[in-house]
Amino acid sequence: MELLWSAIEVLARWDVAAALLVGSIGGVLIGAIPGVGPAVAIAILLPATFSMDPIVGLTVLLGIYGSSMYGGAIPAILINTPGTAVNALTTYDGFPMTTRGEARRALSLAYSASFFGGIVSVIALILFAPVLARITPMFGSREIFLAALLGIILVVIAHRGQTLIAAALASFGIFLNTVGLEPVKYTRRYTFEQSWLAGGIDLIVVVLGLFALSQAFLLLTGEDEKTRMTRLRGGLFQGFRELARHPRIASVSASFGVMMGMIPGVGEFTAQFLSYTYAQKTSRRPEDFGHGSSEGLIASETANNAVPAAAMVPLLALGIPGEALTAMMLSVFYVHNVVPGPGLFQYQMDFVVALYLALLILNVLVLVFLLGATNQLIRVVNIPNRFLGACILVLSFVGVYSLRNSATDCAVAAAFGVFGYVLKRLSLPIVPIILGMVLGGIMEVKLRSSMNRVKEPLDFIDRPVAFILFCMIVVILSLHLRRVWLDARLRRETRWRIEHRPSRFGAHLYRRRQYLRSERGKALRRRRAAFPARPGDGG
């Protein structure tokens, strides 16, 4: 209780209140505009938050992260275009509801499910915080190294079908982090005698290029989408009543969101997939899924909104971000000399609980805002894409230039913007690059410090947590290799089937004619000619 009071004291400031308001409303707006997304907004706002207190800056960023998914559901339901990537599953059931005139019911259900997911995850994590505070001191250098390694492996494996290129891009991220002056031996690495490379490549420059500038280029080179807005009728509170009729699906989906959010590299998509599959398999009407099922909508929206709070766990407890947005938030900690990790849970628990309380308040603010302003909010969906692209270009400039007032940084960001544009055009993953950069740095530091106390290779895993993490890595890699082997077998079988099937219609007719001309074919036709004629046959 004392902890709760001290956390409330941390939050009881006008600037935190303003940050909560700006973060929540800004996040909803950003989420509601297809083509922007929280990653772009956080990347742009990141340097601006450096001058704020850590709690204020993080509240703004958390606000955008947590509330963008609420906003993202609006275009997903109304125009079949997800506002943020994680709202893609919402279109499956949300848009069919709109087409049959139930747009407001779908929105109301999405808001209430999101609110439930957000609140459940925050409460679960506040209750879980004392347990974490006991576990985190068991994490030393080698455990954090292994956890970071596990995170990077999970990020790569999560891109099924693109694992190899995801691994190559994660390696590229690790490489980017090594460029510049090495901090221990002071030797140069891949600077090519260029003074601007000696300081290294800044994470924020890369993030802004890969997320914000690339998105601007994508919008500017694309075409405006033509949207047809549906009129909203009915109340927005009916969703809560409907949600109350599906407590099992809502609670299981929230649990999936919390669990998947805590595992680095897994995140919203897996949580949504698991909860949607669970809801479909246990539903009395599984055939409705994908055609406007309220259960499907509840499953996807509850799961994705339960993730942001949970995703803060590896970041706060171990200093290991699980995905790109928390990786960006890590830089806010570093700028203010607040080192996330075991020490944070031990010595600054009030700060951690304050962050969770901020998320709790944020969910309430967002819900109140949405219930009152949805009719006005849906107009932002109509902002033309290419105009939006031009605005993102102007906003990206602030993000990059305000870091060091360096035109070189802007040129580097522009280069990464083009690279990110290419990746987006090819649907290749960007997140492994960012996590490679962040986790690569953590792995380098932690491996170096942990190897000082290791004499033999097995000493590295002689502590229980290190051993468990090592076993997890081995199991995950084994499962992945098994999957690769099964995929290869499936490909071999498919190839054999393709090679041995009559693939040409002409060849098929030729074989048929040859058969009919053969003695056996003639005998068959003679026998059939003796059959009595069926009624209705000509002649």
Binding site: A167, S171, T187, T191, R386
Partner: protein, 178 residues
Amino acid sequence: MRHEDDPTAPRGVPRRGQLLFAAGFAVFAVLLAVSYPSQTTWVENTKWAAQPGFWPAVAVGGMVLFTALHAARLRPRRIARADLAEGRRWAAAAEFCAWFLAYVFLVPLIGYVFASAAFLPALTWRMGYRTRFWLWLSAAVAVAVVVLFKAFLEVKIPGGAVYEYFPAALRSFFILNL
């Protein structure tokens, strides 16, 4: 086996341009690998994990290995006309890259607010929104962005060279807020 027959291929991923990208990335990775001896240093009496060249070796090795494996799995293995068209599409982004760099170049000269108020309407015009409404809206958005970030959020963007010619009171106001 054709890509569309492969049951393990990711769905919704375009094929055009994949080979071009893989080839380009592979060349980049190989160039990094070739320059590894000259761009890293081996320090005597230091453990392998603490060698400055250890992590670059891991990273560049990973890039070469995984890109090669990725490229080997791609089908078809010849660059088609669609790949080249996709390459031209990538080059189209260079125009907006140039717009952005021109904006970066202008800010220290004519000041953040004037550069923004000129850049955004010009780009809006270029994108085909040529009515008075869009041009005024873009100018208003540009000024709003400047005021929000520089005056309220106090981000560090230096004043333009042109501000030096302003009267003293106006100059300090512009340097601080716009």
